[in-house]
């Protein structure tokens, strides 16, 4: 007899010094269902998942598997109990191949306890084929894109027939197409009787797969209900404790001069013939599928990657050479899609991170003026609504949303005129997203030119004045706000129609 309830979390409380991270949380996950966990950053979702995965032990309460209380010692123990986890932050060995990474630590062995490479590659190939992934098991991980690697993490987690799969923001780095593939995988897992605990900020996709939804807020349970009884607005209200009137605070802003004008911008083998412009007060979007070249164009413009050919005119003056330093001096800055890698120095303080790009403002007469620096950083943090215990706190200790606000605060400190924002809301919660949208509108109102690259179509449609669609390294379409439609954008993105 199999119990219908596979996993039960009963009255779990977790204390961290000075903080109650989880306060008597209880919910049940039934066999063969997807249980979605929602909540803003800081609600306690990840802590809860780490308890189920054995990284933390609860201070009070119990975890029950098949009705039996278990004490999960560590992730290896969790794995032996059939619990497998896809982490939000990817961990892999870049120099190793796809196959070696999939079987990391559990390599197939031959009779002499040597790694059976042939067997390993055969099994990896079978696994990749079964999930419809096109890359070779011999490829080194460092040659794959973030989204490829995320997909690998997912198939790694499902490859050993787990009974419970925990997925923490699995879609934050993958494309729409891959997301559908992931949902297909989840359906297959459910058919086999496994259950999936799914954490996501993307509310629209939650409803595609959720059987039940549990919402946490500030470490407490708000509610746990069947998905059929809820809609997106209910969930948002439960998460933030109030009804969000408008997801996108778009406002019509009068447009000024062209601040950024890009003509015939090229980078051989990456993108070509890129033509676009942004006016003061305008928010322009870059839509397209993963790999369409959006990030590459933005990075080349900012001077992080080389480009060959084309004219880039910033605030009326044509640039012969694009460099990060030159761009910052000209008032053009870029928010990277990968904030941990390109945006932050995680082991240093909030203060140092925020003032990093504009230190010369505080250093004069031969020394650093700490009071001025502190005041300026404090002001930016208040403006961005950064939540941090102190300005000396290291950035690595903060949540994703706060980290993104710190990168933004850093650039606000430079007072730029043109902002290239690559996935500005990736992996951050609804509340923080809304704050970033509000900031974007505020910036547009003050006459800045904004470019937003996003893989979330609804936010592009909600926030932009114009959208350029990229496909295979080229701009295939341009739409004014009055012409916006998701179908049209997808058609341009896939490349079925062209201007």
């Amino acid at each position: 007899m199999q119990a219908e309830i596979k996993l039960e979390v009963r009255d779990v409380t977790k204390l961290f010094p000075g903080v109650k991270a989880l306060d008597h949380i209880s919910f049940q996950v039934r066999r063969g269902t997807t249980h979605v966990l929602c909540g803003e950053n800081g609600a306690g979702k990840s802590t809860l998942m780490k308890i189920i995965n054995g990284i933390y032990t609860p201070d009070e309460g119990q975890i029950l598997l098949d009705g039996q209380p278990v004490k999960i010692q560590n992730p290896i123990h969790a794995r032996s109990l059939g619990i497998s986890m896809v982490f939000q932050e990817l961990s892999y060995v870049p120099e190793m191949t796809v196959a070696e990474n999939i079987f990391l630590g559990r390599w197939p062995l031959d009779k002499l306890h040597r790694i059976d490479r042939a067997e390993m590659y055969r099994r990896a190939q079978a696994l990749l084929d079964s999930q419809g992934l096109h890359y070779s098991p011999y490829e080194q991980l460092k040659n794959l894109t973030v989204s490829d690697i995320q997909m690998l993490e997912i198939i790694k987690a499902v490859s050993n027939d787990p009974q419970i799969v925990i997925m923490d923001e699995p879609t934050s780095a993958i494309t729409e197409k891959e997301t559908q593939k992931l949902f297909e995988m989840i359906r297959k897992l459910k058919e086999k009787g496994a259950c999936v605990i799914y954490i996501s900020h993307k509310l629209d996709e939650i409803f595609q797969i959720a059987d039940e939804i549990t919402v946490l807020r500030d470490g407490t349970m708000v509610d746990s209900k069947p998905a059929s009884e809820l809609d997106i607005d209910d969930v948002i209200q439960m998460m933030v404790g109030r009804r969000m009137e408008n997801k996108y605070p778009y406002e019509e802003v009068p447009k000024g001069d062209v601040l950024l004008d890009v003509k015939n911008f090229n980078s051989s083998g990456v993108f070509r013939d890129i033509n676009f412009h942004i006016r003061a007060g305008e928010i322009v979007g870059f839509a397209g599928l993963m790999g369409a070249g959006r990030t590459e164009v933005v990075r080349a413009l900012f001077g992080l990657d080389p480009s060959d050919g084309g004219t880039v005119t910033i605030k009326g003056s044509a640039k012969t050479k694009l460099s990060v330093q030159g761009n910052i001096a000209d008032g053009l800055v870029m928010l990277s899609e990968d904030r941990r890698r390109y945006g932050l120095v995680p082991i240093r303080s909030v203060m140092e991170n925020v003032s990093l790009a504009n230190l010369k403002k505080f250093i004069y007469k031969g020394h650093l003026h700490r009071r001025e620096e502190r005041d300026a950083v404090q002001e930016q943090c208040q403006r961005m609504n950064v939540k941090t215990p102190t300005l000396e706190t290291t950035v690595e200790a903060l949540s994703g949303g706060n980290q993104q606000k710190i990168v933004l605060a850093k650039w606000m400190e430079v007072n730029p005129d043109i902002l290239l924002m690559d996935e500005p809301t990736r992996g951050i919660d609804v509340g923080a997203k809304y704050e970033i949208y509000k900031l974007m509108i505020e910036l547009a109102k003050s006459g800045k030119a904004l470019l937003m690259v996003s893989s979330e179509l609804p936010e592009l449609l909600g926030m932009c004045d114009r959208i350029y669609v990229l496909s295979q390294g080229r701009i295939t379409g341009e739409l004014k706000r009055s012409e916006f439609s998701a179908e049209k954008i997808m058609a341009y993105a896939i490349g079925t129609i062209q201007d």
Binding site: V324, L368, A397
Partner: protein, 332 residues
């Protein structure tokens, strides 16, 4: 917004920030109780004079390690620059020229280190290891392996005093202040931390990474050059084989002082505290006649402990981070 710092928090900060200083104070008290000769003006100035050369090297090392670099060549470059400087003095008689020669040679060697690590992206470990061998070879070639004696008044910097304070100590204090100034008060210093903490982000924030790294090596060169003059004038000769193992002493000093081997973390104050910890330990072991072979074992143990502590502290931070990603919010 800003949570008030609680008392517990303040104690945490004190503990993490000044732990190494507390170690020094405790060590000082223990040493004073262990041997009555320890707490005397002569002994304390003696210790300070003994540690001054390696501590100056350690300041350069601190700047480099913070930015994710390293210098294993400083001992050999010191020997090369120092012997050349002594020879220049013997030929010419000008102390100023001798100092300039020493600094110029050391800066030149470090410019090569910088070129290799920035332009050719070679790892600092290998590059400076190669320089260590080359500079030692150059020093020996220059002197045909013979020590240079009869250096006359060259000894003035290493053996002289200003009022009652030996000059090497003054130089050590001077370079401490320089390092502190660089790290705390200049854009260059902040850039060092940023590059060591995350080079890609530093670059994307408009920091000229290669220029900063080159600058770090050049400043290191100045320090090595000055240390060379102090060393040779203290030992009363130009020793092409001198200062062997000083690179490890300098590294140890920086690491014990809390400079993180993985970059991005370290202070001038920590390094000088680290230097005194080593100085006190050496001194008390000599005063209490600990077997000199045993002394080596103890010193090695201390290095291992310092590194373990560094890793422990880092793990503590990461553990905190895992909880805090979710939980700091509520604390705020």
């Amino acid at each position: 917004m800003q949570a008030k710092r609680s008392k517990a928090n303040l104690w945490e900060t004190l503990k993490s920030k000044y732990a190494i200083f507390l170690v020094l104070v405790v060590l000082f008290v223990i040493c004073s109780l262990l041997n009555k000769n320890f707490l005397t003006w002569n002994n304390l100035t003696n210790i300070s004079r003994q540690i001054s050369v390696t501590t100056i090297l350690a300041f350069g090392e601190t700047l480099l390690i913070i930015s994710g670099l390293l210098d294993l060549s400083n001992s050999s470059v010191l020997a090369f620059a120092g012997t050349l400087s002594v020879m220049a003095y013997k030929a010419n008689g000008s102390m100023l020229l001798a100092i300039l020669v020493s600094i110029a040679v050391a800066v030149f060697c470090n410019a090569l280190n910088a070129l290799m690590t920035t332009t050719f992206k070679a790892p600092a470990f290998i590059v400076t290891l190669a320089m260590q061998t080359m500079a030692r070879g150059a020093a020996l070639l220059l002197t045909a392996g013979q020590n240079v004696y009869q250096i006359g008044d060259y000894t003035i910097l290493g053996q002289g005093s200003v009022w009652i304070i030996p000059t090497p100590i003054l130089f050590m204090i001077f370079f401490f202040l320089v390092t502190r100034y660089i790290l705390n008060d200049t854009r260059f210093g902040r850039s060092l931390y940023a590059i060591g903490g995350n080079e890609a982000a530093a670059n994307a924030s408009g920091i000229a990474v290669n220029k900063v790294k080159t600058g770090a090596y050049l400043i290191n060169g100045v320090m090595v050059g000055m240390a060379a003059v102090l060393f040779m004038s203290r030992v009363n000769a130009g020793l092409p084989n001198g200062a062997q193992g000083y690179e490890t002493e300098a590294l140890t000093t920086a690491i014990i002082g809390g400079t993180s081997f993985t970059g991005g973390i370290g202070t001038a104050g920590g390094t000088i505290v680290g230097a005194f910890i080593i100085g006190f330990l050496n001194n008390i072991m000599n005063l209490t006649s600990v077997n000199s072979y045993l002394q080596q074992i103890i010193k090695g143990l201390i290095i291992a402990l310092a590194v373990i502590y560094d890793i422990y502290a880092k793990n503590k931070r990461t553990r905190k981070k895992m909880g805090n990603i979710e939980d700091k919010q509520q604390a705020a």
